[in-house]
Amino acid sequence: MTAPVSPREILICSIAKLLDGSRHVAVGASSPIPAAGAMLLRALKDERRAEKVRVSILGSVEHNFFTNGSAELFDCAGQGRIDAFFLGGGQIDGVGNINLVGVGDYPQSSVRWPGSFGSAYLYFVVPRVILFREEHTPRVFVDRVDFISAPGISEPGVYRTGGPYALLTGKGLFRFDRDRPGFSLESVHPGHSLPEIKEATGFDFTHDDDPSITPTPDAVTLKLLRGRVLDELHETYPDFAAQMRREISAGATPA
């Protein structure tokens, strides 16, 4: 028997779907699930002999063609050559502001996170920024962030070719509406519910009364993910790839 689809695999497949149509996807450091999602999209396009997808994984040698140091990612984004990127946040609020700096009064934060990284730039110039945060709790999804590393929307007249596109969490998938602005719930992951998501979200969002369930991957997609994608992922994220492999073999019950 094939192992049942795991929550992580649903996240990876959801990311591949969100990325569909991108020609060049970049993935930041320490982001195994987004990296797997981008690799899955590339594998699916290769399988269908569709237009090739370029994937740039920071921290990888094999899956990274930058040769101009750590500035090249940002230069590349500024030139409009990166279609999709991922950002997270210690806090994310209902208008898409993200906080990667800390909790409390800046600069003497009571909890300090690493810092804004490239978000204060990339959020402006990458058309499809996918906000990815597995932990779905009211301390992450707040009404108002304590520090704006990067704003969800900008005043008219501010140069902005990019911004939030979707928000993917361990419980569900949201789309971002720049005009409102705000998030709307697109689907609930299997095993979770709308009341649970409402309880865990500190900001208001729109939703259907009976939201759909995040789809599980078809057999072709799952095969690519468990084969080629984990093989590719191993170079940058050996521990993560090995752990997924163990889960898959533990879940595959003998017939």
């Binding site: 450091a29 320490s30 921290g59 040698v61 930058f66 040769t67 101009n68 140091g69 750590s70 500035a71 090249e72 940002f74 230069d75 500024g78 990667l100 700096v101 800390g102 800046y106 600069p107 003497q108 934060s109 009571s110 300090r112 996170w113 690493p114 810092g115 804004s116 990284f117 490239g118 978000s119 204060a120 730039y121 990339l122 959020y123 402006f124 110039v125 520090f147 704006i148 590393s149 990067a150 704003p151 900008s154 005043e155 007249g157 501010v158 140069y159």
Partner: protein, 269 residues
């Protein structure tokens, strides 16, 4: 060999601006303890564009006045404990940035220009807290187009680690071009290397393209496994177990002091 590192460290004076590379680009961890032993304080660190273990150790040792950075962390080993504590205590000045702004500041210095303009940033609290950055109206636009100016960053010293140098003082940096940007912008550049080769790196077209010429390099010292416990591209990988050991020890000031005086001063063979 160690004398070399100590001699380099002695050139650091209190109040200098020191530029240090991101954890995967070639951190001269071998210089960290010599710098701490030398003890010149009030340093202003510039992380290009983020910092890690070396920054945390220098902060923990009380040598740092301010940190300009886009982030500080120990990567897979979690948050940077001494840096985070110093932030909480208000013990260091913070100049939070975003990666391309640090690159932009170095780029301006590289070109001998006073500043570079860059997109993004408007509406962020990063910009709000940087009195040294400015918004102007793009003078080339037909209608209003606000854009941020980042002043040139001029470090006193850049310190990094690379695989090799030649006898003539040229250093091979491969595709880690930010190391060149740092050197161009700095008054002095100290490089530790795994080895020194006899033949000029500029003699081969293949190697020359990835070589930082001696013009920009002030001092070179040999330090085998000098990035440890960080990895060095093309040479060896990061010792995550050691990073985790540090992360655990440095949760307290006492644990940090014990770690720093401990036997782990040398890389595992």
């Amino acid at each position: 060999m160690h004398t070399d590192l100590e001699a380099l460290a002695r050139q650091i004076e209190p109040g200098m601006r020191i530029a240090l590379p991101v954890d995967y680009a070639g951190v001269s961890m071998a210089m960290t303890r010599p710098i701490i032993r030398h003890g010149a304080g009030d340093l202003d660190l510039i992380c290009v564009p983020t910092g890690g273990l070396q920054v945390d150790m220098l902060v923990g040792a009380g040598l740092v006045r301010s940190v300009e950075t886009s982030a500080v962390s120990l990567g897979e080993a979690g948050g940077a404990p001494r840096f985070n504590q110093a932030v909480k205590d208000g013990a260091i000045g913070l100049r939070d940035a975003t990666c391309p702004a640090i690159h932009a500041g170095l780029m301006a210095a590289q070109k001998g220009s006073p500043f570079t303009a860059m997109r993004g940033l408007i509406g962020t609290d990063v910009l709000k807290n940087r009195e040294d950055w400015r918004i102007i109206d793009n003078p080339f636009a037909e209608s209003g187009d606000p854009i941020v100016l980042i002043p040139a960053i001029h470090p006193d010293i850049t310190i990094f680690h690379a695989p090799m140098a030649d006898r003539f003082g040229n250093v091979w940096i491969g595709r880690r071009r930010e190391l060149a940007a740092m050197a161009y912008a700095s008054k002095m550049t100290f490089v530790t290397v795994e080895r020194i080769v006899d033949e000029s790196l500029l003699a081969s077209e293949t190697l020359a393209a990835g070589t930082l010429p001696a013009l920009y390099v002030s001092e070179i010292a040999v330090a085998p496994r000098g990035a440890w416990p960080y990895g060095l591209w093309g040479e060896y990988s990061t010792d995550t177990v050691e990073l985790l050991r540090y992360a655990k020890a440095a949760r307290t000031a006492e644990g940090f002091a014990a770690y720093m005086s401990g036997a782990a001063a040398e890389p595992a063979k």
